[in-house]
């Protein structure tokens, strides 16, 4: 069978068919979808012309789900049921979420499984489900715009996303009904968007991606050689972004206006908003008028730059570290790509340019650049460009290891190792006749178990009883091209093999995902059924009303008593059917009533015509 399937890589079975594929930038604050149309990659707009979809999902009591701008509008009024920044919760435990995001307005439920749930009026939802609603919305937008069925999608994730977070992202995509070609690192997508793989003068050079968003900062170094991108290193700060710029201006405003906002949330918010306005204005002008309450003043570029300098310097420290991790010299860096809305600030561009000693690339809208790159890669993976030799190689962002004696961690795969990778490590028993062994999989750079993140823990049983040190237990780590880990363990000295495959915690199991997909399909089916029933009931009411008003008007004149009884019987039938909760029963009863009333309708029409004609005549006579 395999012999019949030999084909060259990149060659699709139907080479002339254009497959619809999309790239999605699933962002913390905003999400976008892009696709290649007529050879050109661009982001797709919704029916209102908006490209950015706020990553906000609101759940209503009747089960309706609202995504985007409308949901965002409810953040002020219906906070508990309106989930923003779900990306921060993906692949995390409740305890981690609380430390990550400080005080959150949501009620988290720790479940028996591993995925934390948020309580809403429409029931409990996971961050995976919330993200899948965003993806569904973008998928629909793409299907409507592109006019066809999507073959696959590329979804971007931050380069630092760990295994659990990548798994959760992929789960969300599956739940949204997307076929995921690949999870792509955001910085790599940005480099692809600039077509750096096409530039010969960049070949075999290093590219730096500086991504300063609203709440996060990431820097990545990529090497490009003959169309192959390698992520050399990544770094950043998950709690530093443009919002911090607003914050320092807000503090300045409060100090200058001699006000304190510690007790006054409204004042603090006003200061933040004014800070943001001033920041944006200073991208185009040297000085801006500012006010806070009664207070008025001016704020200029020099003051702004001085305020944000420590923050920008912090990002440059992370850049320095990324350069060292990549084991390259700053001079090797050929291009610097700017990503994220906060890179619109001229001073950021200036300092980044000075650090890398070259002007950064800023031509593509920094909000859209990642989605555009993902769209290009999706088009490629769909097989629409069999001649392209672009290939994206990734590394794992964090080391993977096992717990060993004394609560220490032995690294099995070091961070920045190119993936996919498979690596085996041998262990042995330390007690005579030991028949089981606990295998604890950890992620992180620290030496002790507590300081790292626990991904999975499982027991390997059925080890044949032997003296200590005789058993040979081989633990194999396998990381695929998306950065997802599987762990296998087997005892191989006696040929008795036991092996276990684990999926990391904080993701969903395959059966859980299937269950959710099935539930959502059943819900959808139920929704359709509900709608049909409601429509039938409305029709029934309309029929009943028509009959009642007709009979009230002329039943006594046009109908005999048995005829009247016949119609009233049919009426009772319909009223009963209407309460049956079954659309078909209702529709049937409507039909029965209509059939029973046929003769009456005919008689009424005749009588109406006679009346109309006679009436008509009378009017004519009188005029």
């Amino acid at each position: 069978m395999a012999l019949l399937q030999i084909s060259e890589p990149g060659m699709s079975t139907a080479p002339h068919e254009h497959r619809l594929a999309i790239g999605i930038d699933l962002g913390t604050t905003n999400s976008l979808v892009a696709s290649v149309r007529s050879g050109e990659a661009s982001t797709l707009a919704d029916e209102n012309g908006e490209h950015l979809l706020p990553s906000v999902v609101r759940y209503l009591e009747n089960g309706e789900v609202i995504v985007g701008t409308k949901a965002q509008a409810a953040l002020g009024s219906d906070l508990q049921n309106t989930i923003a920044s779900a990306k921060r919760f993906l692949g995390r435990a409740v305890s981690e979420i609380k430390t990550l995001a400080g005080q959150l307005p949501y009620d988290f439920v720790e479940t028996e499984g591993s995925v934390p749930q948020i309580q809403t009026c429409a029931g409990n939802v996971t961050a995976i489900e919330v993200s899948s609603e965003i993806l569904k919305s973008l998928k629909e937008r793409a299907e409507n715009t592109l006019g066809g069925e999507l073959k696959g999608a590329v979804i971007t994730v931050p380069a630092y996303f760990d295994d659990a977070q990548r798994q959760a992202t992929k789960d969300a995509a599956r739940l949204a009904g997307l076929n995921v070609y690949r999870l792509l690192n955001e910085p790599t997508a940005a480099a692809v968007a600039y077509g750096l793989d096409q530039k010969t003068d960049v070949d075999n050079k290093v590219i730096a991606i500086y991504d300063l968003g609203g709440g996060t900062f990431d820097v990545s170094l990529l090497r490009l050689n003959k169309g192959v991108f390698e992520v050399l290193s990544t770094g950043g700060d998950s709690a530093l972004g443009g919002d911090d710029f607003d914050h320092v201006i807000a503090e300045w405003l409060l100090t200058e206006s001699q006000q304190t906002a510690t007790q006054d949330e409204f004042l603090l918010r006003a200061a933040m908003l004014e800070g943001r306005r001033a920041k944006e204005a200073l991208s185009d002008t040297a000085e801006v008028d500012v006010s806070l309450g009664e207070w008025q003043g001016t704020f200029n570029v020099e003051q702004f730059n001085a305020l944000i300098q420590p923050l920008v310097k912090k990002t440059l420290m992370a850049c320095r570290r990324a350069v060292r991790d990549a084991d390259v010299a700053k001079e090797d860096i050929a291009e610097v790509v700017m990503v994220g809305g906060s890179t619109r600030v001229p001073y950021v561009r200036q300092l980044v340019g000075e650090f890398f000693d070259r002007p950064p690339l800023v031509d593509i809208d920094p909000d859209k650049v990642v989605a555009i790159g993902a769209g290009i890669q999706a088009d490629l993976l769909a097989g629409n460009k069999p001649d392209s030799d672009l290939l994206l190689l990734d590394v794992i962002p964090l080391s993977l290891g096992l717990e060993t004696y004394g609560g220490l961690v032995e690294k099995v795969i070091a961070r920045n190792t190119t993936i996919p990778i498979t690596r085996a490590q041998e262990f042995t028993t330390f007690k005579d006749s030991q028949t089981a062994m606990t295998i604890h999989v950890l992620q992180g750079e620290r030496e002790t178990v507590e300081a790292n993140r626990s991904l999975a823990k499982f027991a390997l049983r059925g080890i044949p009883a032997m003296v200590a040190g005789a058993a040979r237990i081989k633990v194999t780590f396998q990381v695929d091209a998306d950065g997802l880990l599987s762990v296998f363990a087997e005892e191989e000295s006696t040929g008795v093999k036991t092996s276990v495959e684990v999926k990391p915690s904080y993701g969903l199991s395959d059966s859980e995902i299937e269950g959710m997909i099935r539930a959502s399909m059943e819900n959808a089916k139920e929704d359709v059924e509900q709608r049909r029933l409601r429509e039938a009931q409305v029709d029934a009411d309309r029929s009943l009303e028509a009959l009642d008003s007709a009979m009230a008007a002329d039943a006594d004149v046009l109908l005999s008593e048995p005829e009247k009884q016949l119609l009233l019987d049919a009426r009772v039938e319909l009223v009963t059917a209407k309460n049956s909760e079954n659309a078909d029963t209702v529709k049937n009863a409507i039909k029965q009533l209509e059939k029973a009333a046929e003769f009456y309708v005919a008689r009424r029409m005749d009588s109406n015509i006679q009346q109309a004609m006679s009436g008509h005549n009378i009017t004519e006579f009188e005029s």
Binding site: Q5, R324, L381, L391
Partner: protein
């Protein structure tokens, strides 16, 4: 499309089986192999195609990592010559070497007290790198002369240096965080 998993990494990348390595040639061969076998090439292919691709690229990646690292490459050459390593027990007994390692560690501990810790650490770092390169030359000499036992001793010393360089890096990161 699979490859021969029995070939050694030098054969895989079509490089001569020796310590000195042409990094450019390794990088080029690595990328060519990746371009042909990476799972992305089979994104719309069958599950089996992708599984095979996963295994093949894992092999390629491990090979590239082994040949790129000065210590792993040295160790790999010895393993091809049937010199085995016992990670639990093997260690160097060269007292002079151990003394110099301790000295380096003491220098590192004093870095935080210096006026410009980042400069101080940069200085230590470049000295350590020079010594590390000296050891690599020593390995090459022993290996080429067929003194595999001496070559093994050098590999064990290289491991000490890797740990030391790891510590330098950690300290650098810590200092940068404090800035």
């Amino acid at each position: 499309m699979s490859i021969d998993f029995k070939q050694n990494y030098f054969e895989l990348f079509e490089l001569p089986q020796q310590y000195e390595i042409d990094k450019g040639a390794l990088a080029t061969a690595f990328r060519q192999l990746q371009a042909a076998h990476h799972p992305d090439r089979f994104a719309s292919g069958s599950d089996e195609d992708r599984r095979v691709a996963q295994q093949v690229t894992s092999f390629i990646n491990t090979g590239q990592e082994t040949l790129s690292s000065p210590r792993l490459r040295a160790r790999y050459l010895l393993s091809l010559a049937d010199v085995s390593f016992d990670d639990e027990r093997d260690t160097t007994s060269d007292m002079m070497f151990l003394m110099s390692q301790m000295e380096r560690r003491e220098q590192l501990e004093q870095v935080t007290q210096s006026d410009d810790p980042l400069d101080a650490i940069d200085a230590i770092s470049s000295e350590v790198k020079a010594d590390y390169e000296g050891l690599q030359n020593a390995f090459e000499e022993a290996y080429d002369a067929g003194d595999l036992e001496e070559a093994k001793q050098v590999v064990l010393k290289l491991k000490f240096f890797e740990r030391l360089m790891g510590e330098i890096k950690q300290l650098e990161e810590k200092l940068e965080d404090e800035v």
